[in-house]
C-alpha cells in the first residue's frame, strides 16, 4: 500500500482571469480509492481534466507511475493506463453498446475479434451484456453511466478516474455501481472518484481530498474529513459548524 501511482504536485489551472484549480497537491497510492469532493464549482472536474490530459496545467505537474504526464494528450494517457469517465455521459450515440466498448478495447486488443471478445467480458463484468446490441442512445441514465465505466475499463487501465458515476441513480442502481467499484478495487485497480452522494463516497473511499474554490481545504480518512469544520462549512454554508 505504499507505492505511489499518481502525484498531483501544486497544480494550478487558470481560464483567463479565473483560477479554477489553485495550487492543489496530493498523491494516490496503488490500490486505494481516493474520493475527491467539494461543492459544485469547486474545481473537481477541472482537476480531472488536467489529470486526464484534457487541459494542461497552468502551473505544477502531474506524475503518473514515475513519468511526468502534464500536458500530454488524452489519447496518450489512455495508452499508459489512465481510464476516465465523463460527468456528462455522452456515449457514441449512433453505435451499439458493444461497439462503444469495442472501440476502447482496441487499445490493448488491436484485432477486432479479440477486442470484441474482451468487450463482452467487460460488459459481463459491468452487467450490460444483455444490452450489448442496443443502440447506446437508447440506454437509461443508469445504463449510460455503466457504459461510461465499461468504456474506461475496456482500456484495461491501472488507474481509473470516475466522475460522478453514481449521481442521478436511484438507490438500487447506486448500490450496484458501488458494488462494482468495490469489485474493481478488489481486482487491484486504483481509483480516483468524484462524487456528490456523500453516503457513497464516505463508504467507499480510503481517503478523501476536499476542494473548495479550487483549493484543497482538507485531506484524510472519511472520519477525519467529516469532523473538519472547514468542510462542514463548505457544504452547509456558514450557519452550520
Amino acid at each position: 500500500m505504499s507505492e505511489t501511482i499518481l502525484t498531483v504536485d501544486s497544480v494550478t489551472k487558470c481560464f483567463g482571469g479565473l483560477t479554477a484549480v489553485d495550487d492543489v497537491s496530493f498523491t494516490v497510492q496503488k490500490g486505494e480509492i481516493v474520493g475527491l469532493i467539494g461543492p459544485n464549482g469547486a474545481g473537481k472536474t477541472t482537476l480531472f481534466n488536467v489529470i486526464s490530459g484534457y487541459y494542461s496545467p497552468t502551473k505544477g505537474s502531474v506524475v503518473f507511475q514515475g513519468n511526468d504526464i502534464s500536458g500530454k494528450p488524452p489519447y496518450h494517457l489512455a495508452g499508459v493506463g489512465i481510464g476516465r469517465t465523463f460527468q456528462v455521459v455522452k456515449p457514441f450515440a449512433g453505435l451499439t453498446v458493444l461497439e462503444n466498448v469495442v472501440i476502447a478495447s482496441f487499445l490493448k486488443h488491436p484485432k477486432r475479434t479479440d477486442a470484441e471478445r474482451h468487450a463482452w467480458q467487460v460488459l459481463e463484468t459491468t452487467g450490460l451484456a444483455d444490452r450489448a446490441h442496443v443502440s447506446a442512445a437508447g440506454l437509461t441514465l443508469a445504463g449510460r453511466k455503466r457504459l461510461e465505466i465499461s468504456k474506461a475499463l475496456a482500456l484495461e487501465p491501472a488507474f481509473l478516474l470516475l466522475d460522478e458515476v453514481v449521481a442521478g441513480l436511484n438507490p438500487t442502481e447506486a448500490d450496484r455501481t458501488v458494488e462494482l467499484i468495490m469489485k474493481l478495487k478488489g481486482q487491484g485497480l486504483t481509483i480516483l472518484i468524484v462524487e456528490h452522494i456523500m453516503r457513497v463516497i464516505m463508504n467507499i473511499s480510503d481517503r478523501l481530498v476536499v476542494l473548495n474554490f479550487g483549493r484543497k481545504i482538507a485531506e484524510g480518512t472519511p472520519a477525519e474529513v467529516c469532523g473538519d469544520a472547514q468542510v462542514i462549512q463548505a457544504y452547509l454554508g456558514e450557519a452550520a459548524a
Partner: protein
C-alpha cells in the same frame, strides 16, 4: 454494422457474377459505356463517404481529387511518356498527397470550416488547371486513344470492386471504421479511449482521396480528353454529395445505391432531355435539399433501418465477475 444476413452475400454474389459476364453477352458499346461510368460513380461515392459519412467531415470538393488523378495521369503519359500502368498509381498518390497537405490545417477545424475549405480548395485547383500551361489551360488535354470498351469496363469493375472490398474490410471489419465512427460521434470522448483524432481523420481523408484519384486516372485514359470543367468542375463534387446524402451516409451500400439511382437518372435524363441539361443541376440541388428534410438517414438508412439485434453471445464469458442483471 451487421447488414449481412444470409441473403445479402448471395445477392451480392449474383450481382458480381452478372457484372463479370455482361460484356461477353452485351456488345452494345453504349450500354457498356454507361455501365462503366455507373461503376465509376459507385467508387467515387463510397470513397467520398469514408470522410463524410464515417468520419463526419463533409468534403464538398471531392471532385478535386478526381481531377488531380485525371490530370496527373494525363501529364505523366503525355509529357513524361510513361505507360498507363506506371502512371495510374501516381494519380492516386497525387490525390493522397493533396489530401495530406490540405488536411493539415483544415482537419483541425470544426466541420463547417472543413466543408467550405475543401470546397474552396477544389475551386482553387480548377483555377490552377485553367491558368498553368502544362495542363493545357481551358483547352484541356488529349490523351492517346486506347479504344477498348471491354478493357475499361473490366478495369473500372476491378478497381471499384477492390476499393469496395478494401473499404468494406477497413470500415466494417477492421477496427479502423469503428474508430472513425467514434470520432464522428464524439471527438473529445474518443480521445479518452486512446484514439488520436487528428491522425485518424487524416488517414480517412487520404483513404478517401486515393481511390478517387485512381478512378480519375482511369477516366482520363478512357475518355481520352480532359479539361478543367469536365474533371475539376463542380459537377463531380455535387454529384458525389447528392449520391451519398440521398443514398445514406455512414454505410457503403447507401452511397452505392445512391450512385446507381442518381447515375441512372442522369443517363436517362441526358439521353431524352439533353436540351434541358441545366435542369439537371436544379434537380440535383433540389434532391439534396429534399433528402435532407425528408430522409435525413438517406434511402438505405430509411429502407433498411437497423433493428435491434437479439441478444447474442459470441463467446462464453471467461470471467463473469458480476452476475448479469435483469434489465434496468
Amino acid at each position: 454494422m451487421k447488414t449481412t444476413n444470409s441473403r445479402g452475400p448471395a445477392i451480392l454474389g449474383i450481382l458480381v457474377a452478372a457484372l463479370l459476364i455482361l460484356p461477353l453477352v452485351v456488345h452494345d458499346t453504349f450500354v457498356l459505356r454507361v455501365l462503366t461510368e455507373g461503376i465509376m460513380w459507385i467508387g467515387l461515392a463510397i470513397a467520398f463517404d469514408v470522410i463524410a459519412g464515417y468520419t463526419g467531415y463533409l468534403n464538398f470538393g471531392h471532385g478535386a481529387f478526381f481531377g488531380i488523378g485525371a490530370y496527373t495521369i494525363a501529364i505523366l503519359m503525355m509529357q513524361a511518356n510513361l505507360p498507363f500502368w506506371a502512371a495510374l498509381p501516381a494519380g492516386g498518390l497525387a490525390a493522397g498527397v493533396v489530401a495530406l497537405i490540405a488536411g493539415i490545417p483544415t482537419l483541425r477545424l470544426k466541420g463547417a470550416y472543413f466543408a467550405i475549405a475543401t470546397w474552396a480548395l477544389s475551386r482553387a485547383i480548377q483555377q490552377l488547371a485553367l491558368n498553368v500551361e502544362f495542363t493545357g489551360g481551358p483547352d484541356g488535354m488529349r490523351l492517346n486513344a486506347f479504344l477498348n470498351p471491354q478493357f475499361f469496363y473490366y478495369l473500372m469493375l476491378i478497381t471499384v470492386g477492390l476499393t469496395f472490398l478494401i473499404l468494406w474490410y477497413l470500415l466494417e471489419r477492421a477496427p479502423f471504421g469503428l474508430k472513425l465512427k467514434a470520432i464522428r460521434e464524439d471527438e473529445e470522448g474518443a480521445k479518452a479511449l486512446g484514439l488520436n483524432p487528428t491522425k485518424l481523420k487524416m488517414q480517412a481523408f487520404i483513404l478517401s482521396a486515393l481511390p478517387t484519384g485512381i478512378l480519375g486516372g482511369i477516366y482520363a485514359y478512357w475518355i481520352t480528353f480532359i479539361d478543367p470543367s469536365s474533371t475539376l468542375g463542380d459537377l463531380v463534387s455535387d454529384q458525389a454529395v447528392v449520391m451519398v446524402v440521398f443514398g445514406g451516409m455512414g454505410t457503403l451500400f447507401g452511397p452505392a445505391l445512391g450512385a446507381l439511382l442518381i447515375f441512372a437518372f442522369k443517363t436517362i435524363f441526358w439521353a431524352y432531355l439533353s436540351d434541358f441539361q441545366l435542369l439537371y443541376l436544379i434537380i440535383l440541388g433540389a434532391l439534396i435539399a429534399v433528402s435532407v428534410i425528408f430522409i435525413p438517414n438517406g434511402l438505405w438508412g430509411t429502407l433498411f433501418k437497423r433493428k435491434a439485434a437479439p441478444p447474442r453471445r459470441e463467446e462464453p464469458a471467461l470471467t463473469a465477475v458480476v452476475a448479469p442483471e435483469e434489465g434496468n
